[in-house]
Amino acid sequence: MPKYYGWGLPYNASAYGAEIDRLIYVLHVFMILLFVGWFAFLLIALFKFRSRPGHKAEYKHNHFKAPSYLEVGVALFEAVLLLGFSFPIARHTRAFPAKGEALEVRIVAEQFAWNIHYPGPDGVFGKTDIKLIGPANALGLDRTDPAAKDDITAINQLHVPVNKPVVVHLSSKDVIHSFFLPVMRVKQDIIPGQNIPVWFQAKASGNFEIACAQLCGLGHYRMRGFFIVDEPDKFSAWLAKFAPKVAVPAPVPAPATAAAPVVLAV
């Protein structure tokens, strides 16, 4: 098992993560070179022109050409960063896989948990309604909906198969959260009232983490989820284990006012 986390970038398990990592390395090499060169100049200047007996300041400036070249160089390099790296990567991360090609998952964040919702074999997410939200039904999934009968729900456990695109539809029940998969180079703010998709494709299996990257309240620091990338057969086995027994009795819809005891609070 490789070491996933250390003092540098985390292990990269993502198909497009290498591009992002490369950009970060290029940037840091550039930054260090620029800084070292510039800092050396600073030190030399400080030493060479220190005040001492017999040394006088010059009123006229040397006419430096280097700074203007440096300016142009920096500007050009920034253009390269934008056109050569950032824009192409963005095009890649925003190019969602075709419908049917990817595994679709819904994640509904709340203080302080990740509710995972798989559409099940029919590939259609069942309807949800906030009136149905209760201790046993954090998503408010309406099991009477035919599409919901085979839906699979989990809390804080996102299982995905390796080498298959995954589209995650993110939404939030309460405040802003941020869905962060360090090993997948995925981070997306979840804005309440919106449904924001992200996609990724794992290229290695393993036991990873979901983190919340946006302050979301007292339990923000422990809003940790498990992100498990499995071989396809293991993934199917896991899904099967969690699939609801076919004849689920339709749950009694709880009226909105009869609020359940607060189990999700801190």
């Binding site: 939404s171 804005i191 009232g193 919106q194 449904n195 924001i196 998709p197």
Partner: protein, 99 residues
């Protein structure tokens, strides 16, 4: 600014004219609103009339028409940033992915 009484008297006539124009335009904009134009046209017409009225107030009551350049510089800057403030947020998140 030096103001001779003659000049001021001319000004006063302008003020009265501007007042008449403002009152007239107010009636026009209300009248048009009763026509129940489609929303896009309604917004366009109402904003054009409001802009005319606003310009009249700014130019004549606030004397912008004969104001010094320094004031214009401040206002130009304000207009640019006002436009940025009004437009960029809508462009950026005007079409949210509705849940």
């Amino acid at each position: 600014m030096e103001h001779s009484t003659e000049e001021i008297k001319k000004h006063v006539k302008v003020y009265i004219a501007v007042f008449a124009a403002l009152a007239f335009l107010t009636v026009v904009t209300v009248a048009i609103s009763y026509l129940h134009l489609p929303i896009f046209q309604a917004i366009l017409v109402a904003l054009v009339i409001a802009t005319i009225k606003g310009s009249l107030v700014a130019c004549f009551f606030m004397h912008l028409i004969s104001e010094k350049q320094i004031i214009f510089s401040v206002l130009l800057l304000t207009v640019v940033f006002f436009a940025a403030l009004l437009l960029l947020p809508v462009f950026t998140s005007g079409h949210p992915h509705v849940a």
